[in-house]
Symmetry: C2
Subunit: 125 residues, 2 copies
């Protein structure tokens, strides 16, 4: 018997600088949680300062956001200099809610390609 | 080029009720972050109320804890009625720090068996 499922979403080609802002991610997570029929306990985020080096080409720093849910959590980390965003959804909520949540996140993040990895948790003994 | 690594730890047979307390997990995460040479940004936790039903046999509710790091995050979810604890470590920090952190967590959680899954993030494009 599992305790839930981890869904790891890796987005590539996220050139939109807005999607590397922590305040946007707080808003998107709040909406995603409603879409997924989940219950928010706490939300936190952090905007990293921009670093001027060759790779980042003057882009802002990345963002991190985290939502603690009654049904587990969602985390977001972004790397504007690599145009990548990585989202983890860990839930023991309903499968239909999870599908809606993932569809919402995919629609909200402008990207070129992405990967999804699903891992059942607490399964073996 | 990856952006970091997710290490998913699933602990089974965690009978110690103390290890299903949110306040203990805040302490353990603060120490683990020092051991792993990581930098804490924020920490949050939640204790779920105990539910009296056949499966839980009067045990307390589970705990959730989350540490937002400069190098990504650590999350903990516990299920006392199933004697299971699931920890996610997502880091773009050093490999030696990660090994020390995982060794510390394994030593701190009394368990019968466990599984570790490592997944490189943001790798494909």
């Amino acid at each position: 018997m599992t305790v839930g499922v981890s869904v790891l979403l890796d987005f590539f080609g996220v050139q939109s600088l807005e999607h590397h802002r922590a305040d946007l991610w707080e808003e998107l997570l709040e909406r995603a949680i409603v879409v997924g029929n989940l219950t928010m306990l706490q939300i936190a985020s952090h905007q990293f300062p921009g670093v001027i080096h060759q790779e980042s080409q003057g882009k802002p720093g990345g963002a991190t956001a985290f939502a603690l849910l009654a049904e587990s959590h969602i985390s977001v980390h972004t790397w504007p200099e690599k145009a990548k965003i990585v989202i983890d959804v860990f839930t023991c909520g309903s499968e239909s809610g999870l599908t809606s949540l993932i569809d919402y996140l995919k629609a909200q993040v402008p990207h070129t390609t992405m990967t999804i990895t699903r891992i059942l948790r607490g399964e073996k003994e």
